[in-house]
Symmetry: C2
């Protein structure tokens, strides 16, 4: 079933059938004739032929490090819903935290494959920058800031700054910090910097050195909490770069008979479901992952439709979630 057959059956030209589907000039009679034939045959125009001819794929490429993650899957959900609302579809690629794969997918998408790209990167190399600058399709980066690029991300620095300040104001003066790798600008560097600056501003700069670096896993949080506690005796507060690490740390404390929150107060970042459900609940920071994805799509759509986006960088605010203060559920 192609457009020529439909045209013949309806007694019109191929152009007329095309106009029927694209709201072009067409008389009422022909419209009706075509409608009948289309209904009867169940004809649908070939998407590939349309893509080739119009040079639009109506697809957005989305590159993420993984998908089985509370934060990322929420972001993907937000992106997907916004993409569909705009009549686009999502081509999903997962890098499994392999920078080579990230570049590979980026380059695949650069061709004629998609109309735009949303990239949830972690660590950016010079090669990333080069590739992004030479991109033939618009790219929006989510979760990270990258100079000169369209991006939507969170205020990681102030999130951790405020969290640290809260801990100090609660009288927790012997803080420790479990960080993510510094190569991860947002979750690693920015959050740690928020912690370090806050303790300095509050007159206890020596705490800035009380940190260890963990992977993004529960087990690593467990292990590194042990290291930190051994190294620095008498900790009364522990701030972790992610909820996942914080859960691991919490389990370490519970396993070793340390009372939470009485002896040590624990916080993470991400407002994940588990942070609210674990006992005792974690103090955490709410990140609007869905919103982040939606805004990224909005920026992309403006570029696709108008050739440019009003917004170039969007920083989203965060707020602290402390269930010991206001009860949820």
């Amino acid at each position: 079933m192609n457009i020529a057959e439909i045209a013949e059956m309806a007694g019109v030209s191929r152009a007329a059938v095309s106009r029927y589907f694209n709201n072009g000039y067409i008389s009422e009679e022909k419209r009706e004739a075509i409608r009948k034939v289309v209904e009867q045959t169940g004809y649908r125009p070939s998407i590939q032929a349309q893509m080739l001819r119009t040079r639009k794929t109506r697809m957005i490429g989305v590159i993420v490090p993984k998908v089985a993650s509370a934060s990322i899957s929420r972001m993907v959900e937000g992106i997907l819903s916004a993409i569909n609302d705009n009549g686009y579809q999502m081509l999903l690629a997962v890098t499994q935290n392999d920078p080579r794969k990230e570049l590979e997918y980026l380059s695949t998408f650069h061709g004629t494959q998609v109309d735009g790209v949303i990239l949830a990167g972690t660590a950016f190399t010079p090669e990333h920058r080069r590739m992004l600058q030479n991109s033939s399709v618009p790219v929006v980066i989510v979760g990270q800031y990258l100079a000169g690029q369209y991006a939507v991300f969170h205020d990681d620095y102030h999130a951790t700054y405020d969290l640290t300040k809260l801990f100090l104001e609660k009288g927790r003066k012997n803080l420790g910090y479990i960080s993510a790798i510094q190569q991860d600008q947002a979750a690693g560097a920015d959050r740690y910097r928020g912690f370090a600056d806050a303790v300095r501003d509050m007159g206890c700069g020596e705490l800035a050195e009380r940190f260890v670096t963990a992977d993004f896993t529960v087990d690593s949080g467990y292990e590194k909490a042990g290291e930190l506690l051994e190294k620095y005796q008498g900790l009364d507060g522990l701030i972790c770069a992610t909820d996942t690490m914080a859960v691991g740390a919490l389990r370490y404390l519970v396993d070793h008979g340390i009372k939470v929150p009485e002896q040590i107060l624990v916080a993470g970042h991400g407002d994940s479901e588990i942070a609210r459900l674990i006992t005792p609940p974690l103090i955490t920071v709410h990140y609007s992952y869905e919103k982040c994805g939606e805004i990224a799509v909005q920026m992309l759509m403006e570029q696709l439709n108008q050739g440019g986006s009003a917004m170039k960088e969007v920083k989203l605010g965060c707020y602290i979630v402390d269930q010991s203060v206001k009860e949820t559920l």
Copy 2:
């Protein structure tokens, strides 16, 4: 940059350039000449043109009810990894549990859009069956069994049967069950049937009526646990259709001063991270979601490459995870 320009620059025909990319007959000299021009120009064949001409998109459509879910995101991860290994890409669609959207995406994908479809459906209507039977591309259903269709799913019935038996053997004779809606064949009907048959087989058939139906949320689990406990006094065991519900139920019990597991033993299904991390940990059933996705892709690939798959229905086994018995972490 199109194939004609490359051909001219290399002093060969368009066919030769095409053969260069598709491992056709080509002499060493021409191959080298083309290689040089390609390297120099960074030329890449248009994917759209290839799709149009070859009638292959090298894309698999994946339809899921949502993505921000522990079980589904793991399945998507498994599917995606297997798809990429086979040189395909993933077009992802989320239905948000709307059956209309499910049909809509199914029909979109039926056209020329993708080479194959993986469908994680929940409730199948006659219209689903009709559409699946008339599908022009191979479809594999995951997570559910549907007569006559290629499918990979779990042994939900025996999972719950064994779990219930375990509870009874542990001396918990006053069981209650929190079910998912019966329209959901796997998580709803099959699991409940496993529960009901087990209690009957073990000589306490009257328990089969002790159930309520909840949504797939923590809050619903919380609420329904309350209803069940009010209705049936003296419960000493509670089996839930999903971990999420079980977590809600657990919180209800904790909030109401009921000791877990001493007074009431609680179990879910899914072996989610939260089931292991919550205190006290849930008894749960391990489902191989990644594997489920991988096998679905394998079945799809066999159909695409050989015109048919050796496997038609694959039922995956489950095993009970009980941390009170064998310690993890």
